[in-house]
Symmetry: C2
Subunit: 333 residues, 2 copies
DNA sequence: TTGAAAGCGCTAACAT
DNA sequence: ATGTTAGCGCTTTCAA
């Protein structure tokens, strides 16, 4: 068995409560005593048992993060950043994925909910009702999902899209295609349409499709029919499908067609040509979401009734264009 | 507060121990009683508190997995597969990364060790001594690291390499280059050298480098000097660097040079041209590693002295070539 | 400033 | 087959 608080207590010649305080409320114990305890603890290799702590009611010290798909290259950097941030704040992060299916998401939530102090649900597939019910039982933050009354982190593509439109305009493009592959409630289409119209760029929307490589391959064959010289894809994976098929068709990128992705995953920087894309900073979103959850946990603790708060917070994360080699001047025609 | 075993007990009109047994030893309670308990539990939305369970000594129901880098595209599918497997077996998986640095790995281990029943250490940076010490304190499985006395999962590239050599030979290649970017103790070089020699293929080794995209870019410029017509890269990322630079140099892949990666990450299937690579099945390795750890946990529980076992198990995971578009006949010359 | 003791939810003797 | 109860390690009143 591991070393317990009692052994530290007897080694330091104090009671267990003093040892406990030495860790959780250091200023309540005499400096000399505290030092003696800390030394004894170090000597014995003591560290508090988290199970006992959380049983006692102190919370689990763990944040839960449910993402649609761990294997989607967009998420690993976010997970990594959130782990780092959380550790810094004394938390651990427990990650699970929902596979974009409600049943799996419920299972994932059930599996982690008793082990965490709160939950970050990314693009949740759950109904509003269920989310509200869940939020009533534990601190909750949703990302990329708007549910009134639940704290939210929202990714805004507006800035990145506007920059993309500007770049394409400056390069002389006139007709563009957007490959849409969003679930309805997450659609990326609307804001894009507006940004492009504002600059007098025509934008045809294809889809909605599944956000897969093959979607890009398929959509690429449709670009010519629209007489478009630029393509914005739903994400980097789809954009790579476009690049792939353009190469097959003997269409040069960016000479004949410019291609823009979204997410700035690893894929974008290692493709050939490297992919111009709209970056969403993983560290920022991870940090903001983690902090928001911790804040929500803090507000929930020691509150009796259900949230009579003012409006629940909404944090917005920006985006920006990362110009790389897949965009360039429109063909002379 | 959440619903406890006591509330279920009174709702079902039985004692807490009967409720406990209804969950942990169903056959020890009368079917009718059990059903009544299960109904009451469902009604109340009861689920056992894992903190209480583990405090009681029942283990945490969690497996720890420390990988070098969550953001390395090789790992997410493995993490995902291990989660799935573990959930199936009633476990949760807690993942952390070591960033390839001993200090970070120690911190990660410290952060999770009290929350898990055992640990899978992937390509651990720790010294053998530390690993032995750790193994003395908790069930341990190492992956891609050989430490006598510690259960181990080992990835064997032999089969995949042999198939690669055969393919290149059949395509008429004679001179090849291997871009090595391994830490010494993990080196992929030796077995490759042997496989190629066995088929009378000349293999020059470049490096060791860091396993990054830029390494591939750099190494690509060196291939011509070796008069090689085929390149095997340390992993897919490095291979993409090669593809990228070959395109820059106006060298056609696979017409002029064939390129082979290792890992079969997402990158390989979405590159242009798609990348021939050596696949290590993420599900297999995740399953085997998870199962081995659970087995090790089971053997440790209820054993008194330190392991006087027979030799600790070593599980070997195979590999195979996935032919795609980046390999083809050697140029006629 | 420090100590004694109750109790968090659960399981496993032990008793019936 | 079911009930009673001690105790896992810790924090936190309450007392001194």
């Amino acid at each position: 068995m591991a070393v317990t608080i009692r052994e530290v207590a007897s080694a330091a010649g104090v009671s267990v409560s003093t040892v406990s305080r030495a860790f959780t409320a250091p200023d309540q114990v005499q400096p000399t005593t505290r030092q003696r305890i800390l030394d004894a603890a170090a000597e014995l290799g003591y560290s508090p048992n988290p199970a006992a702590r959380s049983l006692r009611g102190g919370g689990t010290g763990t944040l839960g993060l449910i993402v649609p798909d761990i294997a989607n290259p967009f998420f690993p950097p976010i997970i990594k950043a959130m782990q780092a941030r959380a550790r810094h704040l004394g938390y651990t992060v427990l990650v699970a994925d929902s596979d974009e299916r409600e049943a799996d998401e419920m299972a994932a939530i059930a599996a982690v909910s008793k082990r965490v102090d709160g939950l970050i649900l990314w693009a949740s597939t759950l109904t509003e009702d269920r989310l509200h019910e869940l939020a009533g039982r534990m601190p909750l933050v949703v990302v990329n999902r708007h549910v009134p009354g639940i704290p939210e982190v929202r990714i805004s593509l507006a800035a990145g899209i506007a920059q993309a439109a500007e770049q394409l305009k400056a390069y002389g493009h006139r007709r563009c295609v957007f490959i849409n592959a969003s679930r309805a409630e997450l659609s990326r289409g609307k804001s894009i349409q507006e940004s492009f119209e504002a600059l007098d760029l025509s934008l045809s929307e294809l889809g909605p499709y599944e956000p897969r490589f093959e979607t890009g391959v398929h959509a690429a064959t449709l670009v010519a029919a629209h007489e478009a010289t630029a393509v914005i894809a739903h994400n980097d994976v789809v954009a790579l499908g476009v690049l792939h098929q353009m190469a097959n068709l003997g269409v040069s990128v960016p000479r004949d067609v410019s291609v823009i992705g979204i997410d700035d995953t690893l894929l974008a920087s290692v493709s050939t040509p490297s992919l111009t894309t709209i970056r969403i900073d993983p560290e920022e979103i991870a940090t903001r979401a983690g902090d928001l959850l911790i804040e929500t946990i803090a507000n929930t603790t020691g509150r009796t009734g259900p949230g009579l708060d003012a409006a629940s917070p909404i944090v917005e994360i920006g985006s920006r264009l990362i110009p790389r080699a897949s965009t360039g001047p429109a063909p002379a025609h």
